[in-house]
Symmetry: C2
Subunit: 594 residues, 2 copies
């Protein structure tokens, strides 16, 4: 071969190429020797093509090809030929043709890989993560990374077209104890001082608004040192957006348009606009969640008023004590056995409820522990409110309002999954609005910002910041999709006095506020424009676009739940010399010195 490097892609060869001489590069997916003829499936980023080596045509190629194994990297030069009718493979993109090799060169050999490089490979995730470079060769992983790439480029194009400017903000920033736990970076030059990796570029993007940039965006890495759940990573990517001089409604409409285009241009799905808007309180009441999954019904129904005089004591006393009684209607499941229903009762208890009452509306009459206590009129009211019909199963929780919503909200989701009520390929977006600005932490005995301390209160609620902070509503909005929060934003405070009131409500002394955020407070005094913005969890968006359920499958080199990289072994011990230069010691060192 003149050059060993490809002039065509394996997966893109079609009947149109028949007769052409091509050079291909790729990995051996499969090989077999059928009576002297060698067949190789050669795979590159674009797909797979069958290569045939006939020792009578090319003895040199056959000699080499006879020794290749899975995952060898080859250069193949040959002619594209049409397959005969009976050998056409309709399941293969390139199944109408094959490449008759004239020359074969081994660009690199491969040991037997620890798992088969294929979509349907059976292998533990830990092995996949250790050999991530092999895992990423699987077509499904390549497609996900390609989708991620396309999504990024599309979002940037959209924002660029809408006048947003991409500005990079620092990664080595100032630690702020408010919010999640920071990752810290010891300073070598300034002994005893530390940088923090950003949890988000929130303050920097606001300062860019004070700088008059007007419209900013960034697709940016953020860091939170929290205990990880399945859908969290210590470092994650955010589409970060901020705008001045723009009504919140205009920004929200623009973001809808962006997401609609994202879904259209990456996966060809048409999403309906405008997105439904649901106030926080309504979302909690009807779905038991501030990120409701709207792809199915089974809404929570408040029965408190109907059962407050019930002879079923649990219901009556709960309402009397300020609690609530709510139910969901599990359509057509009145025939569930006691055992099945009890297992859901256990789930409810694990979720924090004292128990799960039920009512099965069967042809032969209503069954369940609650049934005998209900008066005829109570029974009718409940049936009407829950739209229950013969065959339905009602599940009740009576408890403090928060517990009722949380437990029934979660049961709603789990039942829908279990019963396969969630239609595939449906994307139900909504905005959840009017969040509370603050939430009270009973343990800590103080208020925390529900979104973050820079969120603007609703104007008419500002006086409540001093008198009744828990009643203050925020100018905040979350974009939710199919039960996930995909984005969250707000109008920001842009006046020093309001920001100071906010810090006060959060229990900061003025000194603490100045020490932590003095530069922001000061910036607000030099002509800060009205501004607001939003941030999208990009990893999660890609996960939903790709139809995956594991966030790690959308990230090239993710970390495990204990924040470890199984491939490189990070984090790892470092030399004493390195720590000395940073003026720090770690506990083990200290202990060994004692």
């Amino acid at each position: 071969m003149e050059s060993s490097f490809k002039n065509h892609d394996c997966g893109l060869l079609t009947k149109e190429h028949v007769g052409s001489t091509v050079i291909l590069n790729g990995w051996v997916r499969k090989w077999r020797n059928l009576g002297g003829l060698i067949f190789l499936d050669l795979r590159d980023r674009s797909g797979t093509v069958q290569v045939v080596i006939n020792p009578e045509v090319s003895p040199q190629a056959a000699e080499i090809a006879d020794k290749v194994r899975s995952e060898y990297v080859l250069a193949v030069q040959g002619e594209v030929v049409a397959r005969s009718e009976e050998t056409i493979n309709p399941r293969m993109q390139t199944g109408e043709i094959e490449v008759l090799a004239r020359e074969v060169e081994v660009l690199n050999a491969s040991k037997t890989p620890p798992f088969t490089v294929a979509d349907d490979t059976e292998v533990e995730e830990t092995t996949r993560l250790k050999y991530r470079y092999l895992d990423l060769r699987r077509p499904v992983m390549q497609e996900t990374l390609l989708l991620r790439h396309r999504a990024m480029q599309m979002v940037r194009r959209f924002l660029d077209e809408h006048g947003f400017i991409e500005v990079e903000t620092p990664m080595l920033t100032k630690s702020s104890p408010e919010g999640a736990r920071d990752y810290l970076v010891p300073s070598r030059v300034h002994e005893g001082e530390f940088y923090a990796l950003p949890q988000s570029p929130q303050i920097f993007k606001q300062l860019l608004m004070v700088s008059g940039m007007e419209r900013y965006f960034q697709i940016v890495r953020c860091f939170r040192d929290e205990d990880l759940r399945a859908d969290r990573q210590p470092e994650f990517t955010q589409i970060d957006i901020e705008a001045s001089f723009l009504e919140t409604d205009e920004l929200m409409a623009m973001m809808e348009e962006m997401v609609v285009r994202l879904f259209r241009e990456t996966i060809g799905v048409e999403v309906e606009r405008p997105f439904r808007r649901i106030p926080y309180r309504e979302a909690m009441e009807r779905f038991g969640s501030d990120r409701p999954d709207l792809r199915f019904g089974m809404e929570l129904v408040d029965l408190s008023e109907m059962v407050k005089g019930s002879s079923f004591k649990v219901f009556a006393s709960t309402v009397a004590d300020g609690g609530r009684v709510k139910a969901i209607n599990v359509k057509g499941r009145a025939d569930w056995s006691r055992k099945v229903i009890d297992s859901w009762g256990e789930v409810a208890q694990q979720l924090g409820a004292k128990g799960l009452a039920w009512l099965a509306v069967r042809e032969e009459g209503t069954k369940g522990p609650v049934a005998k206590f209900l008066s005829e009129s109570e029974w009718h009211d409940i049936m009407k409110a829950t739209e229950a019909e013969t065959g339905d199963l009602l599940l009740f929780v009576a408890d403090r309002p928060r517990v009722v919503n949380e437990v029934l909200g979660e049961l709603r989701i789990r039942l829908a999954r279990e019963l396969d009520l969630i239609p595939a390929g449906v994307y139900k977006f909504a905005w959840v609005t009017h969040f509370p600005l603050l939430s009270y932490d009973e343990e800590e005995g103080r208020y925390y910002a529900e979104h973050h301390p820079f969120t603007s209160p609703v104007d008419e609620d500002i006086p409540l910041l001093k008198s009744d902070p828990s009643q203050v509503r925020a100018k905040a909005y979350d974009m939710v999709l199919n039960g996930y929060e995909v984005g969250g934003g707000s109008r920001r405070i842009h006046r020093r006095e309001i920001q100071e009131m906010m810090f006060e409500a959060l229990g900061f002394t003025m000194e603490e506020a100045k020490e932590q955020f003095g530069y922001l407070l000061e910036a607000f005094e030099y002509g800060a424009p009205p501004h607001g913005g939003i941030a999208f969890g990009f990893d999660r968006l890609v996960m939903l676009l790709a139809g995956r359920s594991n966030l790690r499958d959308t990230i090239a080199f993710p970390k495990t739940a204990s924040a470890t990289c199984l491939m490189t072994g990070a984090p790892s011990p470092v030399s004493k010399h390195q720590l000395d230069e940073l003026h720090i010691t770690h506990r083990e060192q200290e202990i060994s010195r004692q």
Copy 2:
């Protein structure tokens, strides 16, 4: 006003808008009250426009406008009117029109800023960095950030069109003592272990090649904890690129095309292609630098052969001892005084030379300390080699080869700047090729990788890796522009045995190599494709595009030479609780405990 928010941009109003009613938002750049009429210059991201408030037309607006000061944020509603012939301001983009205000609203007030927000403001850089949000309001800074944004989008578009996929690589990675000093991040979950922030995604991008991604790019933050020079930042941005199955020449051609388009589309400059290629050795010989500035001549001329028998003992003995004698021709400066020449001699000494010999070719004869020692034929040879004519000044350095090149190379640059020999608006690109693979560190008594340990040696030099490492040439190439290295790349090693030889040459034991880079060595055994790539210093590219000389002016929130952010105060002390969670203490804490 129905809405206070803008429907037009200040700087984009033209005569075409005359008669329209507009709402503008912006900052007060200047204001003046001329006999009751108030004139405001209102500035937003797009530019500045003059607003006129006539108390007879709008008393309310006049009352408000009378109280505004510099950097107040306003909403102005009014009518665009043509200026009269005599009030047209040709120096202003919008100088043909003005806006006659009907309503004025103060969106936010401003204290008197610490410096005037204008391009020609006189202020210390430290003050600009402390109040960066005001500094960034200056049009020149906004233009630079906008240029940076456009450059980023253009590069991404180009790479996307050429089949490169943007993949995000981790920020929390494994520390590697090879290379520059790492920034470390203590792990909370794994006591005594640390992440490192990436100096570059080098290994990850190579593993993406092993993953079969074929073409990767990323515009990515990198970190080096080094003592900072004027053109270094602890965190910097890199355009990171890697490709498999691509000849080096093809990659280089593609990168040229990218850079040509970058200059065309951002600043409208046409750059010539193909770029000149200069082998490293030639660059050092002729320009005394591996990043030669080709915008002017004054090349270094080797005279060693001509003067080895000279009666000027310094020349003869230097050559005899294996040293070199080289000169530069400072055209037309034979008339420089002894004092001026001596001052350059001092510079040469500061740069490491023992002294600077000189020869002034004057009408009345050749002057200088060397003159009388030269024979007629030596004099002729030197004149011819240096292309010296009457009126020229020759400067000589005789020393070890490295010192001669370094000193004369640096003198060449400084003289050109001093003498204004560097033409403005000229962009001379070149590739420097055939770098040595390794350089010997006398102090440490070991070899270091000139680029990095993953650079492939030239094939025929591989045996020298064991016998004579300093003679091994690398398949490396730097892109240089006007005396700056803007990008550096290489073909990479993709075979385990070569990579192991490389680590050996660098003084690693096999155990050390495996501990640090075992996962890469292992990856090479599973079908690593031939690959190579390049990385561009994006901050520096933007600096050159913007025609600036200070790297900090191209970064929104840069750090000082002591790696401090003057605005936020990062780095800063953190709480003992934070350090306890990370299992570390810093030295001051320890001392205070004793």
